[in-house]
Every structure is written in structure tokens, then in C-alpha cells.
Symmetry: C2
């Protein structure tokens, strides 16, 4: 493979859940491949524009489905913990992306190296989220079932909807990502002109043990925050966060709501402190974007999949830069 | 990462099922990590001896467990096809290896790049095994259930044991592997001095469509045969096939049974044609070993995990060379 210096800018793209499974879908393989193919068309456009690409993605619906299957099969097969579930969904989703991307390039009669690198992400075992887990995972339960799982398995459970028969869920810690363990391998592949899929589902969370080894955890890392650590570790120029809206907004849902276009880190931090961004949704994306630019990244972009290519050309989207 | 020419010999190691899950185990995460750690100790020894390493492995028990979970959950969650199941188990097993290997190196205060590369393997859509599937997968069924699945899902099913209530299984094609799609990325990582886990479970089987794209298949590729294609594609020096016996045998199970030590390709082919090797067990290993040496590989070794390091030093095992 050629080792000539590749001066194209590197963009890390964090894909939202709807890039793989729409909310109203069951999650059949046909549905998921169809969504992934549509997403990959945008990624191929970015390649045409002259960007090196690292792709990261969520895994919520896929992990949720696997947790249901594990639960239904638990009398016959031992369920695997969340670190293994994360690894399995990285395989599942990575395969769909590398297969679909390759097909689109083959249609152009181009052969580009593409690989999914299974990724572990180091977290701090003293992260405050371990004491007060915040991330709901897996199926909804009745209060009775939830409390039974708490008793039997030591699950932390919470009421997550005010009403309904099944309105409880298991909650797990969502600690801050500190380090991408496989960053060296991801960078080697980028140097070899490959397109890389990495850190899916926020990565497999691991913590350092007293003896210096790394152990997997029953936790889920925010994929956009992990995406920022990945973008920093690979010296990316641009961090592109895709979601279901074309822009971040201030005064969202009010009469005077206003889409944010080009803004500075300082402005972003001011809006964040005002509470302009929803905690479980736009908030972590803005946090991840701010961290990336503050660490020296050229720009972070928040937009939707169908605006992504235009946003890279600065025609749309919320674009955060240093000044 | 350093790009100095790395002249260490490259060995591709194909691990047997007991490297991950023992036959009498259920497959809990604790059991599997314990087995993988024992296996990784041997791999670290090979690193100490000065070999570059690519690791491939089976996935039968893990895929079997996932198929059971999918079946039990089928009323709530759509089951995924075998190509996706293969991708998921590559994630599951790759994670356990890269985590355990890293830990063993950390105990020596060494940091070595380690990555699992999700691997697709091209097969010929005209392979004769598509017409007469030979590979049993997933759970055992009663005859009644098996025939019901045949009717409902178009499964091919076969009676696989003479007796017992559940003695039928689904059978799928096991086509010959032709090409490792991600070979370029695997080689780039080896050039970057990484240890690579690849082509788990024989790889995700894909076939070329009339329009030139690649589509995943409901099939399972023999992991040793895929390991040979991987070893050829990466210009490996040695192909090391690990199984549950220290040697291949002639006259196996008879009074005059004899372990094979150093033998030539010509001798191996003669024994193969005599029917000395069991079709579903030692046969494909010998075939894979012969193919590797005939393609120009220095030697292929068949032995057990606990003899692997000694076999690399030519002290034990069945060692096949050209002359």
C-alpha cells in the first residue's frame, strides 16, 4: 500500500441512530442495510470532496435488541455483559458499513481499503456517574420486574416514564471517555489511506485495574464524547456530529428559536451555561464539539445527515470554531 | 508508529474452539475470558520468540449461543442472518483476545498495538456446497420442529444423530474461501508492528453479485481453510493450525496408529487420498496446510495449543514442508 504523505484533511464523523435504524422500524437486516447504504452515499460524497474519513456510530437500538434476545434466551444460554454486547454490536454495525461502503466504491470501479477496528475506550473508575448511573439501557420493564432484577442481578433500575405498564428500565453508568485504546492502529490504517469505522456505540468501556490491566465494564459511553476523544487521538481536522436536525438552536421550541450557524467556542460555552441545550440530546454534542475545538481541532460541525456534505463546505449546519 | 522494515517471520495462527470455550462449559463471559487468557499466554510466548502474529479463530459455540438467543427472542426482535451473526461473534471474540493480550503485555510493561479487523471473505456463488449444504449450525431440533422451519423459513435441515429426541439441525453451505476482502488493512497493521485478530469464524461469507457488489450469505466458511487464504494474502511464513491433538495421525484409532512429525506435501497428499484424515475434523486442516505450503509458504504446522510454542521450534507437532 502507498505510504506517500497524504495531506487530505481528516474528518471524524459521529453518526446518529437514524443512520442505521429508524425509530419506527423493527431492525430487520434489510431495513438496517437500506439505512446504512443511504448514509454511506453521503460518506462517499465526502471522499469525493477530498477528505480522509473515520466513522463512528451509536448502537442503542442494536444493543437494545440484543439485550432482549439475551433475556429471552437466558434459561438456555448465559447472557453476556454490556462490554461484550458493545463488542458484538460494533461487529454487527461495522460489517454493514464496510460492506455498503465497498459496494458504493465498486460501483465507481474504485477499490479503497476499508476496515472496522474493534475499539476499547478507557474510563476513570472514579467517574461520578458510577455512583449515580444515568443511562437507560435495554427493554422497558414493569415496576415489579424491574425490582426483581434489582434484587436478583444487582441492576440499578429507574422509573423512566411517568405512565404506562412498562415504564421502568435498567440504568448504567455513562462515564467520561479518557483514551481510545486502539488509536495507534486506527491512525496506521488512515496513514495507509483506508477508511476506518471505529469506537462504535461509544466504544467498549474498560477501566484500569490496580495491577495495571484493563477490565470491561457494565457501562455505556456517550458516542459523541468518545468521538471527540477519537478525533483528538487521530489528529483530525474536523469533527462532524450528525443528528436529526440541521442545526443546534437557541430558545429551541419557543417563538424566537434561532438556528446557530457559525459560532465560536466562547459563544457555545455561554449558550451551554444558559441551559440552551437539552441534557440527554444536544447537550453532549455541544460539549463534545467544544472539547474538540479547544483541544486544537480546526472546527466541529453539528448538522443532519442530509446536510452533512454542504456543512463541510460551510454552506449550512452549526459550525463551531475557535474564533 | 515506526515503519522500519520488520524482518521477523509472520505466523498466522488458527485457533481451535477449545481456545475460547471448552465443550463442557456453558459459555459465560468468565469462562470464556479464562480460556482466552490461557491461550493468549501462548501467543505472548510466540511474540517473545520473535514472530509477527495474525490470529484467527472459530466461532461455532458463540454463534450457536447467539442463534439460540435469536430464536428465543424472535417474537420481539427480528433475528439477524448468519453473515451478521458472524460479524457479531467476530466482535465478541476479538474483544476478548485484544483485551487479554494487552493485559499480558501490560504485565510485562510493554505496549504493543493490537487490533481486531472485522473480515469479509469472498466465496464462489457456484461452489457445489450451495447445492448440497454440509455444515450444521445452531441448536438441535426435533424432526417436527426441523420440518416446520424448513416449511416456514426455507431452512435446509438434516438428521445429524441416529437417536435422541432432538437429533435434527439446520445445515448451511460451507463454500471454499477465495479472497480475504480486508487483507490490505490487515497487512498495513502488521507493517505497523501490530498483532492482528482477523477472519474469525472463517470470516463473514460474501459473494459477488452480477453488478459487481458483494452480498453477505447464509453460509459458514471453514476457519482453517479461510486461515490459509489469510496466510497467503499476508505473505505469512508459517501457518500454525491448533486443534485438540498434538499431531495428525495415520491409522488413527488402530493398533498401529502413528503420529505424523515432519512430512512433505507429497506425503501429506498421499495420506489424504488414502482417507487417513476424518472429513469433518483433521481433513480440512490437512487440506489447508497443504494449500499453504504449495502456494509457497515455508511450513504449516498442526498441533495442540500446549505444544504450539515447541512446535514453532520444530520440537513437536505435525510439520508439513515442501520437501
Amino acid at each position: 500500500m502507498k505510504k506517500n504523505k497524504d495531506k487530505r484533511p481528516l474528518v471524524v464523523i459521529a453518526l446518529g441512530g437514524n443512520a442505521i435504524k429508524q425509530a419506527d422500524e423493527e431492525g430487520t437486516v434489510e431495513e438496517q442495510f437500506a439505512n446504512v447504504t443511504e448514509t454511506c452515499k453521503q460518506l462517499v460524497e465526502m471522499n469525493h470532496l477530498g477528505y480522509k474519513l473515520i466513522i463512528t456510530h451509536g448502537n442503542g437500538p442494536q444493543a437494545g435488541n440484543l439485550l432482549i434476545q439475551q433475556e429471552e434466551g437466558k434459561d438456555r444460554v448465559p447472557p453476556q455483559p454490556l462490554d461484550v454486547v458493545g463488542a458484538m454490536t460494533q461487529g454487527q454495525i461495522g460489517y454493514m458499513f464496510q460492506n455498503s461502503l465497498r459496494d458504493l466504491f465498486l460501483e465507481e470501479e474504485r477499490s479503497i481499503p476499508i476496515a472496522t477496528v474493534l475499539t476499547q475506550v478507557l474510563v476513570d473508575p472514579n467517574d461520578p456517574d458510577f455512583a449515580d448511573p444515568s443511562k437507560p439501557v435495554g427493554p422497558f420493564y414493569t415496576k415489579e420486574t424491574a425490582l426483581q432484577y434489582k434484587e436478583d442481578k444487582g441492576y440499578q433500575v429507574k422509573k423512566v416514564k411517568p405512565n404506562g405498564e412498562k415504564n421502568w428500565r435498567r440504568v448504567v453508568p455513562s462515564p467520561e471517555p479518557k483514551e481510545i485504546i486502539e488509536a495507534d492502529c486506527i491512525s496506521s490504517l488512515i496513514d495507509a489511506r483506508a477508511i476506518v469505522i471505529a469506537s462504535g456505540g461509544g466504544g467498549i468501556p474498560v477501566k484500569e485495574m490496580p495491577n495495571g490491566t484493563y477490565k470491561g465494564l457494565e457501562a455505556v459511553i456517550d458516542k459523541d464524547k468518545a468521538g471527540n476523544v477519537l478525533a483528538q487521538a487521530t489528529n483530525a481536522d474536523i469533527f462532524l456530529i450528525l443528528t436529526d436536525v440541521s442545526n443546534a438552536y437557541i430558545n429551541f421550541g419557543k417563538d424566537d428559536q434561532k438556528p446557530l450557524e457559525k459560532i465560536t467556542v466562547t459563544e457555545s460555552e455561554k449558550y451551554y451555561e444558559e441551559g440552551q441545550f437539552l441534557k440527554g440530546s444536544m447537550g453532549p454534542k455541544i460539549t463534545a464539539a467544544i472539547r474538540f475545538v479547544k483541544s486544537g481541532g480546526e472546527k466541529a460541525i453539528i448538522t443532519s445527515l442530509d446536510h452533512a456534505v454542504e456543512a463541510l463546505q460551510e454552506k449550512t449546519g452549526t459550525i463551531i470554531t475557535k474564533e
